[in-house]
Amino acid sequence: MSIAKKSVVWGLFAAGGTISAFVFPAMIALFLLIALGKTPAGLQFESIHAFATNWLGKLSLFVVISLSLWHAAHRLRVVFHDFGVRLDKVVANAVYLVALIGTVMTAFYLYVI
């Protein structure tokens, strides 16, 4: 891989890792509240829909979800190698493709909302 390509992949990995390290604990805690049947007011349909309609809400959701996906994809590629799977090209294509599809889906749903 060229240095330019490597720096893009690494940049997305680091940015996504930082964002998910900061945001995901609170997000998982919110999912836990939902699972316990204590859905907070801001996650009822009217409020969350209003949040996702606002351009700032759209932007933050897109940044968090897409960068986290690229982070997960890159780390998963390395994890495959660490567990003894020596098919880096196939693995890399597969994980980055899933991240790309997820990014496009996120953009599409946010556009539709």
Binding site: A21, F24, M27, L30, A35, I65, H71, A73
Partner: protein, 132 residues
């Protein structure tokens, strides 16, 4: 005269079991599965939201409301904090050292800064969600 250097046989699949540091590394790296899982869950949520009716969103919420998902989210939360968030903050001064002229910002300052920022970010998210 040929020399045959001795190559220690190392398993490609279980090499990290030999050493505590390697185990810790693997425990950290597999957090990517959680990042991936919750990113995809968020996309499912967006899909429900994009349908534009409360029914689809309420169905998404209901899909989380069972004993299994309570356990998944509870375990994921603890695992994620220990092996992703706190590890990421611990490594931050090594990955992104801050140079101030001749000196470097002490690692502790960077780590504490991360924790403080994390508390603020979490409070903002809880505030947006109407928890506080």
């Amino acid at each position: 005269m040929s020399r045959q250097p001795y190559v220690r046989p190392i398993s490609k699949t279980t090499w990290y079991m030999r050493n505590g540091r390697y185990k810790r590394y693997m425990l950290r790296e597999v957090t990517c599965l959680l990042v991936g899982f919750y990113s995809l869950l968020a996309i499912f949520g967006l899909a429900a939201l994009a349908a534009g009716t409360p029914e689809r969103w309420d169905a998404f919420l209901a899909s989380q409301q069972n004993g299994l998902m309570v356990a998944v989210h509870a375990i994921a939360l603890v695992y994620f904090l220990v092996y992703m968030t706190f590890d990421w903050f611990k490594l931050a001064p090594k990955a992104m050292p801050v140079q101030l002229g001749e000196k470097k910002l002490p690692a502790q300052v960077i780590v504490i800064g991360h924790y403080l920022a994390w508390v603020v970010v979490s409070l903002v998210i809880f505030w947006l969600a109407g928890v506080i």
